[in-house]
């Protein structure tokens, strides 16, 4: 079904970083304007809208003067935009929409017009996690990794090296927030945030936005930029509470979403020339590489520290610098997709010229996942 869709427009906000002059809605709008222009379209051409709340599809569509005939407000964390692409492809395939705008904007750092989120104390996380002093992802998303380290021998140095490898990509990217090279020693000397995680093993917190235009592959060639084909997509979920993750050494949601996407596209790991793995923290690329089957369980730390994923390595991973060095508004998934699109179009700052790029998104804290297989050509 998703074989019929292409990404015809893709853009970020003019700037990323610290943008106190924009509200959350303002970031959505600028990203939408840029993506529609990138596709050579106008808002009159858009008949489908997808984004997360808040502000949600109704507010975004209304602000842009769009009356969609299809909308999707799926909001399952930072991977939501990957799910929107999947859902949009399905809607386009059955004729419910022809041209879908997917927007992200988040005043993650400046918190201008931003939604508040804290679990109510009667919710399951409110009753069974918050009383123990959890306070956002740094305190909870990080909890599984000590178990992984003990069971599989991942070292503190290997965990730190994830940040080092991604900084090497960021150094090539003028839009990355942090570009100065770092060493393992510097990562391990940075402030402890939540042992075993140091500051440089945690993502940035920034303001920014991005947007995509998804349409039918029948229209390939009708747009100014090369089409990016949606070859496969998958989604899954595992747990609303990190304490209830069934196995702290792996993500079942990553594995299931990845298997669905690879099966739909009919590819294996050896077909993949470029990979984006949502990296809110340094352990996520490790969990992601293993869940997608690029390496066996327990091998990803060494795979990264041996240089396989950094510039010059055979599996370029998080080539924009990732959430650790490029940008992370709170819902990073849109930026992971956008880097894949840039790579497939040949527009990336650190281009690796892939035929097929895979994007693995995370939502919440191992709560949800979406995976996209994107390609330069239809299969």
């Amino acid at each position: 079904m998703s074989k019929a869709a292409i990404i015809a427009g893709a853009a970020e906000t003019n700037s990323l970083g610290k943008l106190p002059g924009y509200s959350t809605l303002g970031l959505h709008i600028e990203a939408a304007v840029n993506a529609v222009a990138d596709a050579g379209l106008s808002f009159r051409d858009i008949d489908g809208i997808a984004t997360v709340s808040a502000p949600g599809p109704v507010q975004v569509a209304h602000a842009l003067g769009i009356t969609p005939r299809w909308m999707d407000g799926t909001g399952v964390g930072g991977t939501s935009f990957l799910l929107h692409v999947r859902h949009a492809a399905a809607a386009i395939a059955v004729g419910q929409a022809s041209t879908v705008l997917i927007t992200h904007g988040e005043s993650g750092r400046s918190r201008v017009g931003a939604a508040r989120f804290a679990p109510g104390l009667s919710s399951p996380p409110g009753q069974f996690e918050a009383p123990y002093g959890t306070f956002g992802p740094t305190t909870a998303f990080t909890i599984p990794v000590l178990r992984y380290m003990k069971d599989y021998g991942l070292t503190h140095e290997q965990l730190a090296y994830v940040a080092v490898a991604q900084r090497r990509w960021a150094a090539k990217n003028p839009r990355a927030m942090f570009r100065d090279p770092i060493t393992v020693d510097e990562v391990l000397a940075s402030r402890l945030v939540a042992y075993p995680f140091h500051l440089l093993e945690c993502c940035l917190v920034t303001d920014g936005g991005g947007a995509l235009i998804v349409t039918s592959a029948d229209r390939t060639g009708d747009f100014p930029k090369p089409a990016v084909h949606v070859l496969g997509a998958g989604e899954s979920m595992e747990t609303p509470m990190i304490s209830q993750l069934p196995d702290f050494t792996e993500s079942g949601a990553f594995r299931l979403a990845g298997a669905a996407a690879f099966a739909e596209a009919g590819i294996t790991t050896s077909d993949v020339g470029h990979l984006m793995i949502y990296d809110a923290f340094a352990h996520l690329p490790i969990y992601g590489l293993e869940a997608l089957g690029f390496v066996a369980k327990g091998e990803a730390g060494a795979f990264i520290s041996d240089g396989n994923t950094e510039p010059g390595g055979f599996l370029p991973l998080n080539t924009n610098g990732g959430g650790l060095s490029y940008t992370h508004t709170g819902m990073y998934g849109m930026f992971a997709i956008l880097e894949s699109v840039r790579q497939l179009r040949g527009e990336a700052a650190a281009g690796v010229d892939p035929e097929i790029s895979v994007v693995l998104g995370n939502g919440g804290m191992f709560a949800t996942s979406g995976v996209l297989v994107l390609g330069r050509s239809p299969l």
């Binding site: 918050a130 959890t134 909870a140 909890i143 599984p144 178990r147």
Partner: protein, 145 residues
């Protein structure tokens, strides 16, 4: 922009729902109560009215042993509101002897990687938080200090 001055706030107090009230009643009585399925006999946590393994609504409460081991944790250096005086403090997940896992605090032990050893034996104890008795865990056996 200066840093906002944090207002002193109390630590969060869980708000029981009808489905979870028996768990909190157990804590008030000094017992860790879990649910198990009458059909497939599997114990589970967090409290809910159907078995997550088989979907049966034939579930019952029982009193767990209170024995556990340390499954994983972080030592948090950025305290949640109300926890300023505790930082750095461990946020742990324990493996209950009956099978389910739960988040908790580890008390009666320094909050350091050296003192908090994965798989160390633990035993439940309870801490008063508002009108709630909160299950926390302390080292057991030869790990008791």
């Amino acid at each position: 922009m200066g840093k906002p001055v944090p207002k002193p706030v109390p630590k969060p107090v869980p708000e029981p729902t009808p489905e979870t009230q028996p768990f909190w009643d157990g804590c008030a009585a000094g017992e860790l109560r879990l649910q198990r399925c009458r059909a497939c006999v599997r114990p589970y946590f967090y409290p809910r009215p159907v078995c997550p393994s088989c979907g049966s609504a034939e579930v019952e409460w029982f009193t767990a042993s209170g024995d556990a081991t340390l499954y994983s944790y972080v030592i948090n250096h950025r305290p949640a509101p109300g926890f300023e005086a505790d930082a750095p403090y461990a946020i742990a997940v324990v493996q209950l002897a009956e099978g389910p896992r739960m988040m908790t605090s580890i008390v009666g032990v320094p909050q350091t990687p050296e003192a908090l050893s994965l798989d160390m034996p633990l035993r439940v104890t309870f801490e008063q938080r508002g009108d709630i008795s909160l299950p926390v865990f302390e080292p057991a056996g030869e790990w008791r200090q």
